[in-house]
């Protein structure tokens, strides 16, 4: 196995224990706080309420209100508090209740946190994590369903992490907390209840390492967040019904991007489909496509590269309209089938 093909699943002996994505995140937070007194949680309703989605449920009882700190509704100050505390020796983990609300923190993240180290000649470290749930599919409409991860990818100095399963959620969060840079940690609301194997020990999934989550010779799918789960589902159907085998690569860290496994996979399959939930125009898929097009994999391409992304529309409230706004399993199947069968 090439070095970049990092294992995404635990060894067989550890497969017995299953946690949800949310429980995996909570376990990472608890273990990090247990291991390092500099780690603390800060955000709206993270205490007794347990966070809007329940990620920090029970942690205030274990660690107290100083280290599981409820804030007023002040997203700029939450981000600033993380930055300031990080500059002054702590390792905060902030929570933005919905990714949409991070727009109110942008100045502190983009103009401050991302740049202070560089502006000060490399003499400051900014070790904090800002967690936030993104994504549609809950009927929460246009201001509670955004997928804004690519906004942060565009800012040098920030790292952007997006776990797609419980195992990665825990391992990436522990790595993010131990990283000396500001990390935007993008969770997905629809993944919180997804179960998967999660070892109890404090293992780390390194930042900046893509994972090949499924091997296949017919077509490479690069997917992020929830779309990894949907691509896996699509892959099972295609394998069963068409004998088409998808290779699926999950970048896991959007910035810095480890593109080698993507390029290697496309060189093998000759076909690429990129799937993400965020809107297509100016989206992350463009970056993936550009890297592949500029790589040695270009010579191996047998078909045009395809992107399947959120439509260029605010997320609607109506169930059917909402569904139509973001990629669904059947669309991934249709796109992949057409691409693999040379109909594109």
């Amino acid at each position: 196995m090439p070095e970049t093909l990092v294992q995404t699943r635990p060894a067989e002996t550890q497969l017995t224990r299953e946690l949800t994505y949310m429980e995996a995140l909570r376990e990472a937070l608890a273990q990090a706080m247990e291991a390092d007194e500099r780690v603390f949680l800060i955000g709206e309703d993270v205490g007794v309420y347990g966070g809007a989605f329940g990620v920090s449920h029970g942690l205030i009882e274990r660690f107290g209100p100083e280290r599981v700190r409820d804030t007023p509704i002040s997203e700029a100050a939450i981000a600033g508090a993380c930055l300031g505390a990080a500059l002054a020796g702590m390792r905060p983990v902030g929570e933005i209740q919905f990714m949409d609300f991070v727009t109110l923190s942008m100045e502190q993240l983009v103009l401050q946190a991302a740049k202070v180290r560089f502006m000060f000649g490399g003499k400051a470290t900014v070790p904090f994590v800002l967690r936030m749930p993104g994504g549609a599919g809950t009927g929460a409409a246009a201001q509670h369903s955004e997928s804004l991860e690519n906004w942060f990818v565009h800012v040098p100095g920030l790292k952007v992490v997006m776990p797609s399963n419980p195992y990665d959620a825990k391992g990436l969060l522990l790595s993010a907390i131990e990283d000396d840079n500001p990390v935007i940690f993008v969770e997905h609301k629809l993944l919180y209840k997804v179960k998967g194997p999660v070892p109890e020990e404090m293992y780390r999934v390194p930042l900046g390492r893509s994972a090949v989550v499924r091997e296949g010779n017919d077509l490479t799918v690069v997917a992020t967040g929830l779309m990894v789960q949907r691509a896996l589902e699509a892959a099972e159907t295609l394998s069963r019904e068409d004998g088409i085998e998808l290779a699926i690569v999950d970048p896991r860290t959007l910035n810095p991007l480890d593109d080698e496994p993507i390029i290697a996979s496309v060189a093998r399959t000759g076909r690429l489909l990129v799937v993400h939930e965020a809107v297509g125009t100016g989206g992350y898929g463009g970056e993936i496509v550009a890297r592949v097009a500029a790589s040695e994999a270009f010579d191996y391409l047998d078909a045009p590269i395809r992107r399947l992304a959120g439509r260029d529309v605010p997320i609607p409230y109506n169930r059917e309209l909402e569904r139509a706004a973001i990629p669904q399993v059947e669309e991934i199947i249709a796109e992949a089938r057409a691409l693999a069968q040379g109909r594109v």
Partner: protein
Amino acid sequence: MTQPAHQPDAALQAALLQTLGAETAREMLETMWTIRIFEEKAKELYALGRIHGTMHLSIGQEATAVGASFALRRGYDYLLNHHRGHGHCLSWSGDVDRTMAEFMGKETGFCRGRGGSMHIADVERNNLGANGIVGGGLPIAVGVGLSIQLRGTDQVVMVIFGDGASNEGAFHESLNMASIWRLPVVYLCENNQYGMSMPVARAMNVEHISQRACAYGIPGVTVDGNDLLAVYDAVSQAASRARAGSGPTLVEAITYRWEGHSKSDRQAYRTRDEVREWQQRDPIPRFAQTLIAAGLLDEAEAAALHDRACAAVEASVAFAEASPEPAVETLMEGVYA
């Protein structure tokens, strides 16, 4: 809660000078001269094309920078300041060479030439940097205060910002949060009466910015920012209060910038008479006279301090000009840890 125009009387002035001692008082005077001469030199070098970009001069505001900085334990306490921050940096670190080198974009500058005039920081001495975004340091101060509180030290953080910043949303979020958690933050508003061209009176409907403190349940005090001892006293009291666990204080220092906002300012929004009037209230000779009257200094010693400041600035120019430019190959350094 607001006490407009807190002004030390003769007895308090004498007591403050006694607390400071002759040596520190003279150092404060010399630092004011250093800031003044440094900025005049920077302006001259800019006109000659030897410094590029832009800069925001604080000539006329030196008493606030020096009085406030010397009220804290520089290097132990924390500082966050703003784009018009040369005086704060020089007061905090006293390192004229590295400041001038940063202006010239040199590798030996505080930020290795990456920050320039607007972003000078001295992380080793807990100066967490000047900020190019109006109000940008205010939310950061909450985090620094929180770190101090969680670590249980007796440090404080002073965040200096302008009158314009008090109209930003970040001001509200920051003061509220620091207040509810009783964080050891000293909020120092340098009211130099204009946000670029916008006069304070047109930008807010309260007489004193310090009145805004009552919205957060914290003390607010207004002082004459051209009176070094008044600033020193107010910031000292705010710092003591912070150290005692009683939370933040909003100190407003009223001062005036003699120069334009930045290098592109034609100053169409104010009259020459107004500027001249404020130049009559020059904080530097004023403090020198206070020291002379108190018998802590004579005219010859005052002149010697001035000359020493001139020499330090001249030396800093030589240091900066002799310093290497950052190597282009190092461009990507420091983006990530």
